[in-house]
């Protein structure tokens, strides 16, 4: 068939028919008779009808005769379209196909075979045989005979054609109107994308528009629950409370087209021939008629399901209406995911702000200045791994040149740890009469805090040091905290001193012991939290108490300046760790006898 012939086919208004026939002689024969009747309705003459009937039979018989056994289950498809000027037929076969010969001659008159192609060619104006790997299509075209009917109009037939044209025009108008409505709705919804819209309100408006445009009577929208285990009802339209549709679990084996669509990622249709199961939850809303259930995904993750129903049994949804459902619901899915992301972002912002406030409060609880107790000098460093940490320290003037040093580490990090650190600080500050007796102070603080700490399974370690400048003496007690490290110039090595008891909050009647130590001139003592000694190098090795003792001795020998010694310590620790980010809070107090 030449190109001009095929392109000419679409110039006039055409109607068409498509038939799928089982691959059997009797079945294709019935199909060709149906085509003949259809062409008769289009006004073809008897001679034309006979010609088309024979040409189609020859083409369809070939499709049956030469199909391989394994493809016998595939149908022979006959499509025919008729216009004012011509008729075109397409016969699809699943044979191995053949090359259409340039010349077709009749076989010997006594041959029993070989006349089919000759007949087809004789009965049509143009023939093309299009082959591909799966199927072949024979395209036949023939001009319609010019009859006198044009000079003597048949009013009945003209009216029928006019009605046919009007019906087609109405269909096109309806489709155009539907497309227009869809586009308008899309533009309206596009304006809301990215805005912080209420998902339920947005979904309700979108679903109502969809129902109207797709001519649906009811709709159900479900969303995947936050735990990802079930589909929860968001909307049931019209006028149904979502409560009538309880959630459905994805793992259940109960009848549910919604779960089926979600699991198989395929639309599921139901109609009077294949209605919903009576035990399907959707049956409560869509007991009769036609419907479709569509599961929707974003980034390959299930978001929910949408079902549309129409109560009229004879009106299934058209392909265009199903496309509309897909478009609207995909749009809705994006809006739902956007709204969730916006919610999460807002929640994160709120949390970050709250943490910032908590960090500010915690910083405000730390001493604003370091009390003087010469000849003893103090230098302090405190770094939190998070904005809000569990470490804290306190330097409380205790009168007569004495200072109480407190260093503590509440289990965990973040706001809960900081809250208890604040409580611990207040508790210790409320017992000034016990400052000079650190062991009793810890016992009293433990008794006070135990009920609260044990209720939430938290605990805190603490080191309390009473520093008396008059005798350059320090009295220390530890509640499960890192030991006090001590170095004096007369000795090459530093050492840990004191005895530790239970952390606070572990044992209500815990006993603590205190150690009194004199700091000779030039000597140094170090209080710290485990965030310092548990720093790791690139090989994963912890700094440890032994290295810390060495560093304290080197710092003491390096400089007599207290702050310079603290910088030296922190500098060497940073070198050891390769400037790795903090994984835990770090606090240290360096005490130096500057006499």
């Amino acid at each position: 068939m030449n190109a001009n012939a095929t392109s000419a086919l679409r110039r006039d208004f055409r109607s068409s028919l498509r038939l799928e026939s089982p691959c059997e002689f009797s079945a294709v024969r019935s199909a060709t008779l149906q085509v003949r009747d259809w062409l008769a309705e289009k006004g073809l003459s008897e001679a034309e009808l006979g010609g088309w009937e024979l040409a189609l039979v020859e083409a369809a018989n070939n499709a049956v005769k030469y199909v391989p056994a394994e493809k016998r289950n595939l149908p022979v498809v006959i499509e025919i379209s008729a216009g004012e000027r011509d008729v075109e037929a397409r016969i699809t076969d699943h044979t191995a196909g053949f090359e259409w010969p340039e010349e077709i001659d009749l076989p010997d008159v006594e041959s029993e075979n070989g006349r089919g192609l000759f007949l087809i060619k004789s009965l049509t104006d143009n023939v093309a045989y299009l082959r591909n790997s799966h199927q072949n299509v024979m395209v036949l075209q023939r001009a319609r005979a010019k009859v006198e009917k044009e000079l003597v109009p048949d009013s009945g037939r003209l009216q029928a054609k006019l009605a046919e044209a009007e019906a087609a025009l109405n269909d096109m108008t309806a489709e155009l109107a539907s497309s227009y409505e869809s586009l308008v709705a899309m533009f309206r919804y596009s304006a809301e994308l990215g805005a912080h819209t209420d998902v339920k309100d947005f979904s309700q408006r979108l679903l109502r528009d969809l129902m109207q445009i797709a001519e649906a009577d009811c709709a159900v929208l479900r969303l995947l629950s936050t735990d990802g285990k079930k589909l929860e009802t968001l909307l049931v339209l019209p006028d149904h409370a979502p409560a009538i549709l309880p959630p459905v679990a994805l793992v259940e084996n109960k009848p549910s087209v919604e779960i089926g669509a979600a699991r198989n990622r395929q639309d599921i249709w139901f109609d009077p021939d294949e209605p919903l199961d009576k035990y399907d939850p959707l049956y409560a809303v869509m007991p009769v008629g036609n419907g479709i259930c569509h599961a929707f995904f974003v980034a390959n993750q299930l978001v929910g399901t949408a079902a549309l129903g129409r109560f009229a049994a004879e009106k299934p949804f058209t392909a265009a209406q199903v496309n509309l459902l897909h478009t609207f619901i995909d749009f809705l899915a994006i809006q739902i995911v956007n709204a969730r992301l916006l919610d999460e972002r807002t929640a994160t912002r709120v949390t970050r702000r709250e943490l910032q406030i908590a960090a500010d409060i915690q910083r405000s609880l730390l001493p604003e200045s370091v009390p003087a107790c010469l000849p003893l000098e103090l230098s302090v460093a405190c770094q939190s791994a998070l904005q809000v940490g569990g470490d804290f320290y306190d330097l409380i003037p205790a009168g007569d040149g004495a200072v109480l040093l407190v260093i503590a580490d509440v289990m965990g990090k973040g706001v809960p740890a900081a809250l208890f650190a604040a409580v611990l600080r207040s508790t210790i500050r409320s017992m000034p009469q016990l400052f000079s007796q650190p062991a009793e102070l810890l016992e009293a603080a433990n008794r006070t805090l135990y009920p609260d700490l044990s209720r939430v399974d938290m605990f805190a370690t603490a080191q309390v040091v009473y520093l008396d400048s008059r005798g350059a003496k320090l009295v220390s007690a530890s509640a499960g905290h890192c030991p006090l490290l001590f170095w004096q110039p007369s000795k090459a090595e530093a050492s840990a001193i004191g005895q530790s008891g239970f952390p606070l909050g572990i044992e209500v009647s815990a006993k603590y012991y205190q150690t009194a130590t004199v700091l000779p001139p030039g000597s140094a003592a170090l209080l710290y939290t485990d965030g310092l000694s548990e720093m790791r190098n690139a090989a994963g090795e912890m700094l440890g108490e032994k290295r810390l003792l060495e560093l304290l001795a080197r710092a003491g020998a390096q400089t007599t300046d207290t702050h310079a010694a603290r910088h030296f310590l922190l500098g060497r620790i940073a070198d050891y760790c390769g400037n790795a980010p903090l994984t835990d809070d770090q606090t240290l107090i360096l005490i130096r006898n500057t006499a």
Partner: protein, 99 residues
């Protein structure tokens, strides 16, 4: 389809079509009733409004069975549409077509 055998004549009536879906049965039935003495097979075509290349092949097959026995195939009163087809394929040269 009815087949009546009278001495050396066979008459086939009641066919309304002859095509791929019934030509095998047509051939088998005729050959079942044909005997060596048969000189003429008459197929009543007055009711046949459709015949395709396989149906024509079946007629050729009967013709070829008869020819060595000096027998002949006669097609009686084919409708114009069938007659036109027989003429197109030159079958009017080997079959007797009446009237």
């Amino acid at each position: 389809m009815n087949i009546v055998v009278d001495h050396d004549r066979m008459r086939v009536t009641g066919l309304d079509r002859l095509g791929a879906s019934n030509c095998t049965e047509f051939k088998q039935m005729l050959k079942l009733h044909l005997n060596e003495s048969c000189q003429l097979v008459e197929v009543d075509c007055a009711l046949i409004r459709f015949i395709d290349s396989d149906g024509l092949g079946a007629l050729i097959s009967i013709h070829k069975w008869l020819a060595p026995r000096a027998g002949k195939l006669r097609l009686r009163e084919p409708l114009p549409v069938v007659r036109q087809l027989l003429r197109l394929l030159h079958f009017d040269e080997i079959f007797e077509i009446t009237p």
